[in-house]
């Protein structure tokens, strides 16, 4: 399976969609589809990607694709897989692309059920850290301090007050065959992980950080750069869960400045020194745990 640009097919399986210019989510989906190939069944719940690629009569997926009910991505994937098996299909993939809200909030029970059943499906969560499709509302994966329309930054509360759910570890806690985090800042790593997921015999889960220029408020040309900076400053971790063990994929020698990363985005513009320090301290605490318990 392709792991770099040279090996990737030139054929597009997601083309002509109406996502915003410089959309990180559409880049993640496009490349995942290229790795998985033409014999792929896709299910997408309500999120940006279903809104921009199924605008009848403009259908952007060139493979079998459908919109699933919002909470049912995992269940629909199981159904597609069972159907394909019953029809005697060989050599195919079943993949679901849910957003962060569709994974961590609304779709979490169906995902948990799919992993529990062990169906041979790939679940990709493209994480843009809020409900961007409906106009930037806070989700369970919105990080602390992020300004959204339902967690506005005011005098007393600095945007989202909760912490980001650790979806990767929640999924890993199921004892899943393969789970991984990725970022569109490190695309070769993402391609490799999709390829690994496709070779699994049971359920696999990929959580890919997909910066959203519209919702995060940064210049559109820096989408990939933002995904890279999130990893370099240590706020996003590239890791895998395999054979019941956590493996850290990338350990930056020295973290870049968290404040620099945050201040490039309009959603964090209001943060004061104290809050940036709080975020940095939380990062260090998390990394301490990772370095102690995960395989490097």
């Amino acid at each position: 399976m392709a792991t770099n640009a040279r090996e990737l097919t030139n054929t597009e399986f997601l083309y002509g969609h109406r996502a915003c210019a410089g959309c990180g989510g559409s880049l993640a989906l496009r490349l995942a589809m290229k790795v998985l190939g033409p014999r792929t069944f896709v299910a997408i719940p309500a999120n940006c990607m279903s809104a921009v690629s199924f605008l009848y009569p403009q259908i952007s997926f060139t493979t079998n694709a459908m919109i699933s009910p919002f909470p049912a991505t995992g269940a629909v994937l199981s159904g597609i897989e069972a159907g394909a098996r019953a029809l005697g299909f060989k050599d195919y993939s079943v993949v679901g692309f849910a957003g962060d809200g569709g994974t961590a909030d609304i779709g979490i029970q169906a995902l948990s059920g799919a992993i529990d059943r062990g169906d041979r499906v790939i679940y990709v969560c493209y994480d843009n850290e809020a409900y961007m499709n409906t106009g930037i509302q806070k989700s369970g994966l919105t990080p602390f301090g992020s300004r959204t329309t339902t967690s506005p930054a005011g005098r007393n509360i600095p945007g989202a007050a909760g912490r980001k759910k650790d979806m990767f570890e929640i999924v890993a806690a199921h004892g899943i065959e393969y789970a991984a985090t990725a970022s569109i800042g490190y695309l070769e790593d993402f391609l490799k992980k999709i390829g690994k997921a496709a070779r699994c015999r049971t359920t696999s889960y990929i959580h890919v950080l997909s910066p959203c220029a519209t919702g995060w408020g940064f210049p559109v040309e820096q989408t990939v750069e933002m995904g890279k900076e999130a990893v370099d400053c240590g706020l996003w971790v590239l890791a895998e869960y395999e054979d019941e063990e956590f493996v850290l994929n990338r350990k930056p020698k020295e973290f870049s400045c968290v404040g620099d990363y945050l201040k490039k985005q309009a959603r964090f513009k209001h943060l004061k020194e104290k809050e940036v320090e709080f975020i940095t301290a939380n990062r260090d605490k998390k990394w301490e745990k990772i370095l102690k318990n995960w395989k490097a």
Binding site: A5, E12, Y15, A19, C20, C23, T63, T223
Partner: protein, 104 residues
Amino acid sequence: MDRPKVVEYSKPLCVEDYPCGAFKAGHLVQDNAGWRVFRPVIDQQKCVRCLRCFLVCPDGAIDKSGDRLEIDYGFCKGCGVCAYECKLGAITMVREGDETDAGL
């Protein structure tokens, strides 16, 4: 240029004309070119075909099938990710309607 093409499409005239159940995959009826303010232009002299732009394009508008990389201006939204990521600076963003472009 090896990129999906826009097809001729006539609007349904009555309810029976609408698809029931599933509809054709990969059915494009309109391009996205109108979204663009700046157009990426590849300087073929500087390009070493590292395919970085092909990899990072969110719209898949860069075609690598030929000897030279080609941009499908029908579906490029002009986000500029390709120009930002190009390590050699071989892609410049030219304002639409500007006459100074040589790449087209």
